[in-house]
Symmetry: C2
Subunit: 355 residues, 2 copies
């Protein structure tokens, strides 16, 4: 393996884990990528170095004021043994959008994508091939200035770490029960909901714990203002099949613009299935369930790809989505996207990049 | 100096800085305090150790999902040379409230306060005595589990770092111009606005940068829902004197419960000045300014104590608060609180703890 990047090698390579029992995000590869930013100097050349601890001053801003951004994407082992990425350019674009919202200096997307590809190339042997597995790629940027004043940092560190993963949900593609949250809020227009930043995620822990206690796998978030309109499920976008049409919340300024969501909408378009991106209220969803027109419901995101919703609970009342089984379209979408990702199905959209 | 706590000593003490030109939060003392939490074991015994880098796994949750909490309080040098704290028990209580909102295990407030006092005691010589200076105390807790799954961490580290500081605002007690923000949002009911957690602070950077560009020192936040009701100014609570009465936004679920705010309300009560904690809209504020009944306006927080507002800008229009000078009551509140903090004025409320 060779690279044009600066590469500090280790001679202590880790043993590869058992591919049949991979957890999510707890095993990491031998190397990580690091880029630094200093005011006046811009982003440095990328450096590949052994995976290991990050040293931060106790006053480093990331530990106090949450100025962080991250991304999540995956490398897949194809059926013929190659490794490929799924729409990584979309993640780089979104990362820069998140940077803008969090007052972090933007970077050169092409250059950062090239560096990401080089890192994955070096760590190719870590991409698992067992059904449902992949190499999860986590780029993230942290603010490192040692200063307790509340203002944007003057220095940053950007890292990419890699983790061979199994399914995000132990349930796999099986339907989950979700809890409609009507007290806690994830995000609001004008806030940080459209950015992939840390604070959005821990803000949901209270609600997630409440949902878990009542036997629900995920939280369905409502809008912060009227507590009526559906936003996201857990940390995924959410889609419904109602009377033959797909309805999904429009990107209104508090919802993350998911790459899986985007891909699903493009797929549905190519299949001539009508898609409506609009406001959808919890009342409308309940009415559709009562009328029998709520045919399918599922979350969509990089970690789980597609996660079918078997039932939802709102104000103590539970509503089953049809038979409670994974819907046909949900299954077809899952199989098509994972099929394209793993090279089982031809990629007519040029979504994949072969390494 | 002695302590009952575990104490790792350094023999390389730093030189003390020039007290007449202290920045805010960029100089740190010789020691910090550390307490760790591990699932099943609870919070460990506190350990005082030399101020130095924190080592984190690159997958440590704080770097990804923003599960953090912090506090801010000060130790003051009294006119007779002692050192005292101002209502530190309030900060410990609020910290536990923040822990609950962020799904971080609570700690024993008394034990943590005792440890804080021991640390400040050891670092007593770092408490400056020059006018307007103090030793800023920053307790903070970070989530340290190395795991990319989105859920509460199973391990935490709690630190206290200390920084001798001058005035937070270079303007000191001089009035500042503020910008009423009507696009970006700081917090919403059901969100994390009442918790002192990182994400709330970096969420405001975009608006702060916009305000700075137009020559404003601070942002005045409106409520996220109707964009009508006043919430906070910068990272301080805000109070207005209108027609002889003090009006301040009620703690409605998106506003931080400030210790300085609370102390001011208690002082005003003791002075028989009427205080109204209620909703106040930007329209009402503008009307009061036009009618000439808006007598004073100021922010209140630990860092700046009291920060007078000279004028505010809303939708391009600027409104001066009376003569644009620091109001009489604002000045009296500043002098009384800093007087109590530094022992110049008797403390009839038992707010101070002498070390």
């Amino acid at each position: 393996m060779s690279t044009e990047l600066k590469w500090t090698k280790t001679d202590q390579l880790k043993p590869k884990p058992d591919e049949t029992s991979l957890p999510f995000g707890r095993i990491f590869t031998d190397y990580m990528l690091k880029v630094t930013y200093d005011e006046g100097q811009g982003w440095s050349e990328p450096h590949i170095l052994p995976y290991g601890p990050i040293e931060l001053d106790p006053a480093a801003m990331v530990l106090h004021y949450g100025q962080t951004v991250f991304e999540g994407l995956k490398a897949y082992r194809t059926t013929d043994g190659h490794v490929q990425l799924f729409r990584p350019d979309e993640n780089m674009k979104r990362m820069n959008r998140s940077h803008r919202r969090m007052s972090i200096p933007e970077f050169d997307e092409d250059r950062m994508l090239k560096a990401l590809i080089e890192l994955v190339n070096i760590e190719k042997d870590w991409v698992p091939s067992h059904e449902g597995t992949s190499l999860y790629i986590r780029p993230f940027v942290i603010s490192t200035e040692a200063n307790l004043a509340v203002h944007p940092s003057k220095s940053y560190e950007y890292y990419i770490i890699l983790s061979p993963v199994g399914s995000y949900y132990p349930e796999g593609i099986n339907p989950v029960k979700i809890q409609v949250e009507d007290e806690f809020t994830r995000a609001v227009k004008g806030g940080t909901g459209t950015a992939k930043t840390g604070g959005n995620y821990s803000a949901g822990y209270n609600a997630q714990e409440k949902a878990s206690k009542s036997g629900h796998a995920q939280v369905l978030w409502l809008d912060a203002i009227e507590k009526q309109y559906i936003e996201e499920v857990g940390s995924m976008n959410v889609l419904f099949k109602i009377d033959g049409e797909i309805v999904t919340p429009a990107l209104s300024g508090s919802i993350l613009e998911g790459v899986t969501r985007k891909s699903i909408l493009e797929l549905l378009h190519s299949w001539d299935i009508p898609v409506l991106e609009r406001k959808i209220s919890i009342r409308e969803l309940i009415q559709a369930q009562k009328d029998g027109t709520l045919e399918e419901a599922f979350g969509a995101g990089t970690a789980a790809v597609v996660s079918p919703i078997g039932s939802f609970t709102y104000k103590g009342e539970s509503y089953q989505v049809q038979s409670g089984e994974t819907g046909e379209l949900t299954k077809k979408l899952y199989e098509t996207i994972t099929g394209i990702q793993t090279g089982k199905i031809e990629d007519p959209f040029d979504w994949t990049i072969k390494l």
